[in-house]
């Protein structure tokens, strides 16, 4: 039985929370001085290693795969990710947790300056859906702009300090707090493909492979789309269930019994033939910490790197801008210090009758 777990390396949301006002756009010529926060024409950003981690939902997916292998010891678990070289980090982690193999579908990143405007969609020609401007091929290799990224590249001026989420210590963007060397030549910003691009690349890679079960996290914590799994399933022609909160597999040949979470906390049960794809909701299990023996073993394990830039499809949607949400004008902030905040809070509640005067 072959199990594939799709993993994403994410930018820790807290790492971005103190940054400047704009993650930028992948569309050239869209500079908006008003939107700056000084960040629009930022130098090539570089994040410390600990600003990245495995998407937590994918940890649940991998944990579920490991539990299936405990039931069916002959099962093999492949961990796969798509992205630039820095994504080896999460594959290493997957091997440490217990994956058998790790595959990096490497998509090169390029300096922002080479980004090309994709503006080509004329409303007139696009109207009515009659004149599709793009190839109907699901995966059409495009070598033109290998560096284009989807939701933009978080970055900020070199003078800005990052806060390391693990230590709380400020980390200068180009210095490192740990002993690991920077990936040579990799000053790439967090490059994020759209879910469709990611799914199409994985689908193209998997075309001649067989997996009985593909697991993915229900969404990525950074992009919050929750689409890649379903897109991949459909590209591969597999049945799919999302937000799986319980899973039972009684035979390696399936079917798999799943419970998926619905709105309002309700659950529905399904029986799904294998091969199938499941996206795993948090709360299904508690992901393990790697055992020391696995960590040591993982050091000797190889990460298979496949050049995947040629597998990139023509994008179907494009992020033109990412920026910090403007602060709400409606929210009234209570000024400090603490006792004053507490006093005003209580006054607020009394004034509205929630507390007895």
């Amino acid at each position: 039985m072959n199990i594939l777990v799709c993993i994403k390396q994410i930018l820790v949301p807290e790492a971005v929370s103190e940054g400047p006002g704009s993650l930028g756009s992948n569309v050239a010529g869209n500079e908006d001085p008003a939107a700056k926060g000084g960040a629009w024409n930022f130098p090539e950003p570089s994040f410390a290693d600990d600003c990245y981690r495995m998407n937590p939902y994918d940890e649940h997916a991998l944990e579920e795969a490991l539990r299936i292998r405990e039931r069916f010891p002959e099962a093999k678990i492949d961990a796969l990710t798509v992205g630039p070289d820095r994504c080896r980090q999460v594959l290493r982690r997957a091997l440490e947790m217990g994956a058998d193999r790790a595959v990096l579908l490497q998509v090169a990143s390029a300096p922002r300056k080479e980004l090309v405007s994709p503006h080509s969609l004329e409303p007139a020609t696009a109207a009515g859906g009659a004149g599709l401007l793009f190839s109907k091929e699901l995966v059409s290799p495009s070598s033109e702009d290998p560096g284009r990224s989807s939701w933009g590249e978080p970055g900020w001026p070199a003078s800005e300090a990052l806060v390391s989420p693990s230590s709380g210590e400020p980390v200068p963007p180009h210095a490192r707090s740990d002993s690991k060397p920077a990936h040579p030549g990799d000053t790439s910003p967090p490059q994020d493909l759209t879910p469709y691009e990611t799914a199409a690349i994985i689908a193209a890679y998997l075309r001649d492979k067989t997996h009985d079960l593909i697991l993915a996290g229900v969404m990525a914590e950074d992009g919050m789309a929750g689409q890649t799994g379903q897109l991949l399933a459909e590209l591969l022609g597999l049945p799919c269930a999302t937000a799986v909160i319980s899973e039972q597999l009684h035979s390696p040949h399936g079917p798999v019994y799943v419970e998926r979470e619905e709105d309002g906390g309700e659950r529905s049960a399904y029986e799904i033939d294998l091969p199938a794809l499941l996206t795993i909701q948090s709360g299904i299990n508690r992901p393990r910490y790697p055992a020391l023996s696995h960590v040591l073993r993982a050091r000797a394990q190889e990460i298979v790197v496949v050049a995947a830039s040629g597998l990139r499809p023509t994008p179907r949607e494009r992020v033109v801008d990412s920026r910090r949400r403007e602060s709400s004008s409606e929210c009234e902030f209570l000024p400090g210090p603490l006792p004053e905040q507490a006093r005003q809070f209580l006054g607020f509640c009394r004034q509205r009758g929630f507390l007895n005067a």
Binding site: K136, Q230, E234, P239, D263, G265, P315, S322
Partner: protein
């Protein structure tokens, strides 16, 4: 009039779900912006192939689906023509606007005479009214009786291909999220998820759709690069006035919003969506027609579409699970104090409890992250996959305010947020913000109340 915007709504036994109504409201803005029509598809709203005259089925009977009879009889009142679409064959081209529809007249004898039917009329009329007078296609079929992404895609992909809209709007619910991406692949469509607003680029009129990333602290604008585009739409998109630069909103747009807002209020308290749209409406109430503002642009039309049978589904629904643990009842609470990941450890829940203890009618809830860590039971979870609440006062403690949580509480009348991070997305919906460490703030509040009590003695 061609329909440029198609909504795929979701129906509960009582009618359209509130999320669907809001999606329709959003879609109407889109339709107004493009100057073209709006269609609403409602899959699985009744089990039989329509229309048949069942004898004694009522809306309340199965807790499930609206009967064909009810829909058909109301359609007579609301629209003057009922069309029955044939199920699409493998060849799907015979379904365009002009051809392939068999127009039928309602079977005789299915009158509005019995109170039973009147009752259903009342409910179904309301159900259709909420489509805002848009052309509505009711989709039936056994494969849709219980939800599965496979069955919905099998039914909807060919139908959407024939309807050929530019925009396909789905509510961003556990369903829309589930089948939307696959549907986009089948339609070779662009896909943008969790949309909370849109605007048009001034230069070229291109549509840009806004969504949140990074726990709601950042927003991005996404532009479809092809048509159609599948959008999964968040409820706030219906009311996101600031986000929508389209200023010449039609009057009926406001009306649609008013409807949506009305739903929101109806949705307060706990329980599954739609429970407040009670089925106990007056039995002999007249059939309602859509408000005049809606029908002014075009007469509303209702059509039926029979879903193709799904012979060998690879994904077989086994049904809803009985709730293992009863949902926590938030409905009587005037104040809900909710704990988020920011509380840091299970021990600190005691502080949350003590803060709640200050209020006469308070309940304690939490975000998903707290449940996932095992700090609190899932029955107290508030958010998209938990309860939806709207108390008079909601105090969010250490909650970042990512979209799934906001979905469950943003209609609270007054929201107070306490968070260390001044950029936390929760402050976007809060009325009162306190940037502070919870573990210091709550003790300060408790101390203050004690001091006041001492002084009063």
């Amino acid at each position: 009039m061609s329909a440029d915007v198609v909504v795929i709504a979701e129906a509960s036994p009582a009618g359209l779900t509130p999320a669907s109504v809001k999606t329709i409201s959003f879609a109407r803005r889109l339709a107004d912006a493009t100057g073209e029509g709006l269609r609403v598809l409602i899959p699985g709203c009744f089990p039989e192939t329509a229309p048949i005259a069942a004898k004694d089925s009522t809306l309340t009977a199965s807790g499930g689906n609206m009967t064909a009879k009810a829909v058909a009889s109301v359609s007579v009142g609301v629209a003057n023509n009922i069309d029955v679409f044939p199920p699409p064959g493998r060849e799907k081209s015979n379904m365009s606007e002009k051809e392939g529809k068999a127009s039928i007249s309602p079977p005789a004898g299915r009158g509005n005479s019995t109170s039973d039917v009147d009752n259903e009329n009342e409910n179904v009329a309301r159900f259709l009214e909420r489509t805002g007078g848009a052309e509505t296609i009711l989709i039936s079929g056994e494969s849709l009786a219980a939800y599965s992404a496979e069955a919905w895609m099998e039914t909807l992909a060919p139908l959407c291909r024939d309807l050929d809209p530019r925009f396909l709007c789905l509510p961003h619910t556990s369903r829309g999220w589930d089948y939307g991406p696959g549907l986009a692949i089948r339609l070779e469509a662009a896909l943008i998820g969790a949309v909370d607003g849109f605007r048009r680029e001034e230069a070229d009129g291109a549509f840009l759709f806004r969504r949140s990333i990074l726990k709601g602290q950042w927003q991005q604008e996404v532009r479809p690069e092809r048509w159609p585009v599948v959008l999964t739409v968040l409820p706030e998109a219906a009311a996101a006035a600031g986000a929508v630069s389209h200023s010449d909103a039609a009057p009926d747009d406001t009306k649609a919003q008013a409807n949506a807002a009305g739903d929101t209020r109806g949705e307060t308290g706990s329980g599954p969506q739609g429970t407040n749209l009670s089925l106990s409406s007056p039995r002999h109430a007249p059939v309602r027609t859509p408000p005049a503002t809606f029908s002014s642009s075009s007469p509303s039309r209702t059509a039926f579409y029979a879903a193709p049978a799904a012979p060998d589904p690879r994904c077989r629904p086994l049904g809803k699970l009985p709730a293992g643990e009863a949902a926590y009842d938030f409905s009587t609470a005037e104040v809900i104090v909710a704990a988020g990941q920011g509380i840091g450890a299970a021990e600190n829940l005691a502080l949350i409890e003590r803060l709640a203890g200050l209020f006469p009618k308070a309940a304690v809830g939490c975000s998903r992250a707290v449940c996932d860590r095992g700090w609190m039971e899932y029955r107290r979870q508030i958010g998209m996959t938990g309860r939806t609440v709207a108390p008079p006062l909601y105090i969010a403690c250490g909650i970042s305010g990512a979209m799934p949580h906001l979905a469950g509480m943003r209609d609270s009348r007054c929201i107070v947020a306490v968070n260390r991070d001044k950029n936390a997305a929760i402050f976007q919906v809060a009325h009162l913000g306190i940037v502070a460490d919870l573990l210091a703030f709550i003790p300060a509040v408790l101390e203050q109340t004690e001091e006041e009590a001492r002084r009063a003695d």
